[in-house]
């Protein structure tokens, strides 16, 4: 199962995977969203980075969970 997960993540981050197109979208959405919340550029940058990493990590975790479920059934 561990090897299957490694292969799955390797496929997720492969250059050929069109998922890369969504990272800039998520980054811009994070910057605009956080710029409406904060005024200081430093705070905006920090909050946007936090938002981006949280969303990305959350999506990867969700993908891993769903993948594991498909392996079980």
């Amino acid at each position: 199962m561990g090897e299957a997960l490694v292969n799955f993540f390797a496929h997720l981050v492969a250059i050929s995977n069109p998922l890369w197109a969504y990272y800039p979208l998520c980054a811009v959405a994070a910057v605009v969203y956080k710029a409406t919340k904060f005024d200081e550029p430093r705070l905006i940058a920090r909050a946007a980075a936090h938002f981006f990493l949280s969303v990305t990590a959350g999506m990867f975790a969700l993908a891993a969970v769903f993948y594991l479920i498909t392996l079980v059934f």
């Binding site: 979208l25 811009v28 959405a29 910057v31 969203y33 710029a35 409406t36």
Partner: protein, 135 residues
Amino acid sequence: MNERTSARASPVAALVLAWAIPGAGHAYAGRWGKAGLFFGCIVGLLIAGMILGGGTVFSPHELWYAAQVWAGGPTIALTPISQYLSVHEGIDYADRLRETGTLYTAVAGFLNLLVMMDAYLKMAYPHRKAEKEKE
């Protein structure tokens, strides 16, 4: 900060300006830095979406347009170009890049809606943040 605080400044004008040109509502309020940031991000997303989708991403006959139209002026300016390209080059609905480009432009529309609300609320309730900090 050189913010517009006179009694003549209208939150509704900021809202309408923010729809017409992304970031213009903040520029009207004297927040030039944020205005530039919002304009760059939203127009950048629209142009990136247009390029990714081969120029055919704006179609008033698709439900996506209900999201895209919130980006206001740029969307309305780009729609005839998109329509022209759709007629002359055709639309490949199965194209993944077109789907991604459409999503880019739809997200740009929703983000501009957020920016419009921010421009309106910051002008309508300028002391709200200070009051929250006091609490």
